[in-house]
Symmetry: C2
Subunit: 189 residues, 2 copies
Amino acid sequence: MTRHSREDIIEAAGRLFAERGYDGTSMRDLGKELGLLGSSIYSHISGKQELLVAVVDQGAELFQASVERAMQAEGSSRDRLTTFVAGHVDVVLDHGEVSRTFLNEARSLEPKYRKPILAARDRYEAGLRTILSDGSGDGSFRADLNPTVAGIFVLSVLNAIDRWYRSDGALDRAALVAALSAFISDGIS
Amino acid sequence: MTRHSREDIIEAAGRLFAERGYDGTSMRDLGKELGLLGSSIYSHISGKQELLVAVVDQGAELFQASVERAMQAEGSSRDRLTTFVAGHVDVVLDHGEVSRTFLNEARSLEPKYRKPILAARDRYEAGLRTILSDGSGDGSFRADLNPTVAGIFVLSVLNAIDRWYRSDGALDRAALVAALSAFISDGIS
DNA sequence: CCTACCGATCGGTAGG
DNA sequence: CCTACCGATCGGTAGG
């Protein structure tokens, strides 16, 4: 007779956290979203923080799997960068609520849960830095590239996608990846 | 005998809103920051929302003044873009709490206050688009540049600065502007 | 700017 | 999963 699974609840939580923020989402809001009382949620989970941890962990896993695929991709460093960009776009477009919560709500994690998430972000960035650094060495990119700073800039552009991109707009997914890759590679010149 | 001015209170509010978010900041938190009771703040302002409006309005004005200076700058479109980037950096570094609140907490504005803020952002973006479009026409930038998409990418990089830049790090302000300008102009190639 | 509150809402629990 | 709560905290007010 259980009407909702743990997964249902985590998914709905991700939706509300992405829209209203963790602090802006009450357990009663979440209950309403699911069609039950806020207090009833506690038969499935032990606390609100657990929901945030679950959503953010999903985000960490998605991005981690994506960067690993990019680093193992065939071809040049430039190809691996393209794979990285396309993989990031896939995560953001296919798991928008999870990735928004991952990117914007980590500050609401209690310290013990926040630390491994920051570490996961560092690994993601480190993968990108490796691609950039390799490409700088083998002539794919500028020889004087600073991989740390360039990595930050690339992620700045990628992490902002959910703030403006709408799938019903002028750019489809392939055009988005192409526009991103062009800007990252050549800027506006 | 008034110990705090309205400006003091708005400044402290901006600090806490930037750090903890609007929903994560209580009037009692703000009182503690100022050395008085939460209820005492109401002798200076009429509500919490008014504080957010005041902070966000400051942000809108700062960015608006900056884009106007950039558009009136002497020289080529490329010079105006450099001025735009440097001006944005100045706002973010000199008014970090205000700009973070402006960028991240606008969703907590009640609809009637949110609308003019979104309009202010649109004007800021429109100024940038004009610079990009002019530069695409006069040969400063690529002829096939899409000013809308390029503008979004440029602002993505600029709006992320406060998420990573620390003034005690390896880059000083001039080096930051130079790195941003190089990435925006030429990407990583 | 404080004292002394108000009703509403918060995350969460006991018991069924 | 609901009923019926709990103590804590929220934004805010009356009166001084």
